[in-house]
């Protein structure tokens, strides 16, 4: 099943169970309308997100990838999001070397009570990806290519 050509782009989100997945739920309960492009994969902690998952998603057809965890110091597993931050920041710098515009990848923090913030994160990121357009790896112009 392919996404509806023209209307949507493929955006994959990795959300930690305790904060951001809950924040997305809160947004839903509050009926905060959002663009529909995002597909969500639930992980226990943002620290579980292997940067390679992000790369795999992008190389296999995603146009954008979003990772969201608990706010620093509010991690359900104490330090998980600090590990995530270090790894994902590294990844962000590495993406151009793989021929991927780093703006296609974004990581952020949203707590379970921040429904309105989640709506904004989704809306802004979706908009940014639509501005970049569909991802065709060979054509992507990065600073390194």
């Amino acid at each position: 099943m392919s996404y509806l050509a023209g209307k949507e782009l493929r955006i994959v989100g990795f959300l930690c169970n305790w904060c951001s997945y809950g924040g997305a739920d809160t947004a839903g309960v509050g009926r905060f309308k959002q663009p529909t492009d995002l597909r969500i994969i639930r992980v226990p902690c943002s620290g579980r997100v292997n940067p390679l998952f992000v790369v795999k998603a992008l190389l296999n057809g995603a146009d954008g990838v979003l990772v969201s965890g608990c706010h620093p110091r509010d991690c359900h597993y104490s330090d998980g999001n600090f590990y995530a931050r270090r790894r994902l920041e590294m990844l962000k710098r590495l993406l151009p070397f793989l021929g991927i515009d780093e703006r296609r990848f974004h990581y952020t923090w949203v707590s379970a009570s921040e429904g309105a913030r989640w709506k904004n994160v989704v809306t802004d990121f979706t908009k940014a990806i639509h501005e970049l357009g569909p991802f065709h790896q060979k054509e992507e112009k990065t600073e390194c290519s």
Partner: protein, 653 residues
């Protein structure tokens, strides 16, 4: 593999914006799916029966329910599936309500999104392996943090239920804010008269071990087995000797210490007992005001103490306690007066806070219950109360209602009239919020029986003129400006989280909202649980609430603890990391990253040293999984293969 997919209409919640029939049709085409259907309310009893029957009839070995958030009903459906003999981890959920039908406006796009969410869940389910929980023993002792009315109620209920209770209170006495109040709405009961006996019970209960003037230093472990480090702060008085006679206080020459208990209404001595009914009734020295500490000489209290309890050399002491569950009841704080400059807060002595006024009204307070204003100790005749001082004010980051101020203002206005019959009270308010039982009647009584003047409108400015405070504001009902010459102004200062609420949350691994109040597991259905199993909430630490609500939560949290302790063992969550001994190269990277110290070295019979996960300690974050360079350590139910199956379901199309 035979996957069954059950798509929920959720009444109109999902079916209203998602074409569920079309979703089912698409699901039937997915590889591995043997059966797909829709149902009005899948979580209802007949809905769950339908799943069970279909599992048997269609010989399903994997089940996907597409409905609300798994945070809502995953546990319910896992149980359903398990009843048919399937392993509960063969179940997956697709969130097509919170993440789809409720947030997308286009039916076609929503329908497509729901189909893809199911596809993802189906691919994940196909990768799922059966998992089995282990059993472990629980330590049936409970830690209660905070000895306010909520914490005391929780401690007493647990203790009466037969549990050993460790109660840790930060300040020198239990009682919390309620111990400071004069009377309580809506009955005008004497606060300490109803609280005092509870405080005594706490101190005398053989099952309660009270650590006053102590704080939580460190928390390790998990539900059933926590190790707590408690810092007993130095009081410089040996409490095993102190009899609370007060001889030291009388003689202490440092008379300008800050009085925390009275919110600075009157000065305290450097050595003090916070209030006459304090539990424990023991003295402590505030080193920052004590001459012995500041100047290195004084020693008066040591000389006059009849039992030789004073010890200037005392140091903080760390003690450890092992418990199986934790109730957090650390209460609330109040915004500082000087954060409210538009009301003259912190600038004029006769502009005070509600809690300070409560101390002035209190017979055991610094004025012995005679109402006098701070500047000249005169009895005020005209008193203005300002509600929502800081509350419901986005500009200072407090958009919420402080919950109980409307009620205590009415109470204080009534008490003022009782104390000074020829006084006049005015209340500036935005709305009167009095939704509790007997509450509206109470605020009406203030107006009708006690003649308190309620003015609907905001105060724009408060400034001094001679001996008076001029309060300028609008009466929005009459559409006029009002100006009142007041003798005393009482601000209902906004309720905030305590200053250390966030640090404590971090030690407990529980979440807090942007204001620092603790987040419950579900706002309606799990109001005293947190997302960390074994940690419960009670009272105003979760959000501003009055005494009846705090007490109710204290009892509720105690009931929750008693219920988990009703068994001797708990099931551990099998969603933990496991090491594949054939792949692990013993690099020890995972050992260094695990935040819980759950990984140890293990020597195999052939001499190789590899990693080993301690089952009961692993919290299941999967940080090690993303660290391991060989993929040797895998978080069960969230393995690399399982997550990549989800990625591929979305991308490789």
């Amino acid at each position: 593999m035979r996957v069954g997919v059950f798509i929920c209409h959720c009444g109109n919640n999902i079916a209203g914006t998602v074409e569920v029939a079309k979703v089912a049709e698409a699901a039937r085409m997915m590889p591995g799916v043997a059966f797909a259907t829709t149902y009005m309310y899948t979580c209802s009893e007949p809905g769950q029966e339908e799943i069970k029957e279909a599992i048997k009839r269609e010989k399903l070995d994997r089940v996907v329910v597409a409905a609300c958030s798994p945070r809502m009903h995953e546990v319910t459906f896992r149980r359903t599936v398990e009843k048919t003999g399937l392993n509960r981890y063969f179940f997956e959920m697709a969130n097509i309500r919170e993440h789809c039908s409720w947030i997308g406006e286009d039916k076609e796009l929503n329908t497509n999104k729901a189909i893809e969410a199911i596809k993802l869940a189906v691919e994940k389910a196909k990768q799922n392996k059966p998992l089995f929980p282990a059993k472990f023993k629980i330590n049936k002792r409970v830690l209660v943090i905070g000895g306010g009315v909520a914490g005391m109620q929780a401690a007493l209920d647990c203790a009466d239920g037969g549990l050993d209770v460790v109660l840790v209170e930060k300040s020198p006495s239990v009682g919390g804010m309620m111990a400071r109040l004069d009377k309580t709405f809506p009955t005008v009961d004497c606060s300490i008269c109803i609280l005092g006996p509870k405080m005594v019970d706490v101190s005398q209960h053989e099952k309660i071990n009270l650590y006053a003037y102590s704080e939580i230093e460190e928390i390790k472990g998990y539900v059933g087995n926590y190790q707590i480090k408690i810092r007993k702060k130095a009081t410089y008085v040996d409490w095993s000797k102190c009899t609370g006679c007060g001889a030291c206080i009388e003689k202490c020459p440092s008379r300008n210490a800050f009085d925390y208990f009275n919110f600075g209404v009157a000065p305290a001595r450097a050595i003090n007992i916070p209030f006459p009914q304090a539990i424990p009734k023991k003295a402590k020295i505030d080193a920052q005001f004590c001459r012995q500490f500041i100047k290195g000489k004084c020693g008066v209290c040591a000389k006059f103490c009849p039992v030789g309890a004073i010890n200037y050399e005392m140091k903080d002491e760390i003690v450890t306690e092992d418990v199986g569950a934790i109730i957090v009841a650390s209460g609330y704080g109040l915004i500082d007066l000087d954060k409210l400059p538009e009301y003259g807060g912190g600038r004029y002595p006769d502009v005070i806070s509600g809690i300070q006024y409560e101390r002035i009204l209190n017979a055991s307070g610094p004025t012995s219950g005679h109402i006098e204003r701070p500047s000249d100790h005169a009895e005020p005749k005209t008193i203005v109360f300002v509600s929502c001082a800081g509350s419901r004010d986005k500009s200072i980051g407090i958009p919420y209602c402080s919950n109980f101020c409307c009620m205590y203002i009415a109470k204080q206005a009534i008490l003022t009239k009782d104390h000074i019959p020829d006084s006049r009270s005015y209340v500036f308010y935005m709305d009167i919020r009095s939704p509790g039982k007997g509450y509206d009647e109470f605020t009406r009584r203030a107006q009708e029986e006690y003649g308190v003047q309620y003015i609907r409108g905001r105060v724009s400015r408060i400034y001094p003129k001679g001996k008076k405070m001029i309060v300028k504001g609008a009466d929005t009902l009459l559409g006029t400006q009002v100006e009142i010459e007041a003798d005393l102004v009482v601000l209902a200062t906004a309720v905030t989280a305590t200053t250390d609420a966030r640090t404590l949350a971090e030690k407990l691994h529980i979440s807090y909202d942007p204001h620092g109040f603790y987040v419950e597991s579900h706002p309606k259905l799990r109001p005293v649980e947190t997302n960390t199993s074994g940690v419960f909430l009670a009272g105003a630490c979760q959000g501003p609430k009055d005494i009846p609500a705090s007490v109710g939560q204290g009892s509720a949290a105690a009931a929750k603890v008693l219920s988990i302790f009703s068994k001797d063992t708990l099931e551990s969550d099998p969603q933990i990391a496991r090491v594949n001994t054939n792949i692990c190269v013993g690099c020890r990277k995972c050992i260094g990253t695990c935040p819980f110290g759950a990984i140890e070295e293990q020597q195999l019979r052939d001499g190789r040293i590899i990693a080993n996960v301690i089952e009961t300690v692993c919290a299941g974050c999967g940080i090690c999984n993303s660290t391991c360079p060989c993929g040797a350590i895998q978080l069960q139910h969230f393995t690399d293969n399982q997550l990549l199956a989800e990625v591929n379901a979305l991308c490789l199309t």
